[in-house]
């Protein structure tokens, strides 16, 4: 379950139960202990209860544990590598998340296709840029150049605003501690990349795989490193 939550997203109890392959009641008890132990927090929402890691340090710890204990039973090994795939690239409901998601967004920002978020990114100790103020709201806008570039790629976009831009929605990627594109534009971009065959969905779970074509075109067309 912690591996499933390792990407920082909030998942409902039922999903975690099926991810873990146990009964709902078992999952519920287990999750209660995780909450009690301070590893996980719960956010009730209607009749769902969303669980998420209590903080990024928990994700790092779990990742370190997984790295140091690869000699797990067969079953766990499969899930493990699945978890890593999820970490690399995944969908967040309908848009891109994970390392790939933030990489795409970073490339858009770097190339001036998206503006906004001034001063929100800072260099972390390990050379990664992280959010300096995770809670603060930020206005991102798709620039006319960005609109043109995405349209060129065949992304289905709404027309430009009166002032020649397009407001964007974003999500915070917990473990990555960075923003990635969401909302209508995020969905359209993800759809298009899947339709182009640069990405494809994994058989199970929310992981997304970069195809051979994607590995070639994503750097060329969007300046995204797919490593």
């Amino acid at each position: 379950m912690l591996l499933a939550l390792g990407d920082g997203r909030a998942l409902p109890a039922g999903t975690l139960a099926s991810e873990a392959g146990v009964a709902a009641s078992t999952a519920s008890e287990h999750l209660a202990r995780l909450v009690d132990g301070g590893l996980v927090t719960v956010h009730p929402q209607g009749r769902h209860r969303y669980y998420r890691l209590a903080g990024p340090e928990v994700g790092r710890l779990i990742e370190n544990l997984a790295r140091l204990a690869p000699a797990a039973p067969v079953r766990s090994l499969r899930e493990d590598s699945r978890a890593y795939a999820v970490r690399r690239a995944r969908t967040c409901y309908d848009h891109l998340a994970g390392r790939l998601g933030v990489a795409v967004f970073a490339a858009l920002l770097r190339d001036g296709l998206v503006t906004g978020g001034d001063g929100i990114h800072r260099l972390d100790d390990d050379g990664e840029d992280r959010l300096s103020a995770p809670g603060r709201d930020v206005d991102y806008r798709l620039t006319p150049a960005g609109h043109a570039r995405l349209a060129e790629l065949g992304v289905d976009l709404p027309p430009l605003d009166g002032d020649g831009g397009l407001p964007l929605r974003y999500c915070v990627d917990w473990t990555e501690q960075r923003h990635h594109l969401s909302g209508r534009v995020g969905r359209a971009l993800a759809d298009r990349l899947l339709a182009l065959g640069w990405l494809k969905r994994a058989e199970r779970g929310r992981a997304v795989l970069v195809t051979e074509a994607g590995r070639e075109r994503l750097p060329a067309e969007l300046g995204v490193e797919t490593g």
Copy 2:
């Protein structure tokens, strides 16, 4: 047990058993699992079998786990804080080790009281200086100035060599990944600091505590931060 080994030293099975408060047989089985799991390595030596952490990353993981899981049962809490004391400052047989041990050695080097180890220390990612070549032998020498300063403090030293220095022995501090003073001079210095009342031994275990006097004098006399 892992906490007890957290400082990187090798301990025999019996010691680990009493540290953990379990029977020797229990400890043996548990240690076998730790070895099997790759967390610990074993070095037979006569009728003893010394166990040590498989690597510094294991120590870091354990420390992270302990930091993230402080809500342990009472018993474990006590041992926990004891482990932290051990980590901060301890004796390594007869000389100083732990953060204090490496801090003292670093201060001696910085102030020119000890020479040698050129290029062996480098800045790590997190700003700590670590050994760049852990396995390499290094020649450290106590300088005449160092000899005078330590003698001034009342440390019982052998006379200077013909060439006006004094060869030093050192140990590698596993988790700290740095050198600290050992050998005859290391023992004499530790003895003197204990005799001066700047340090005192903990009731149990190998931990050493910095006294009120030590907190005042160590920075002044040796330029050692006792934080």
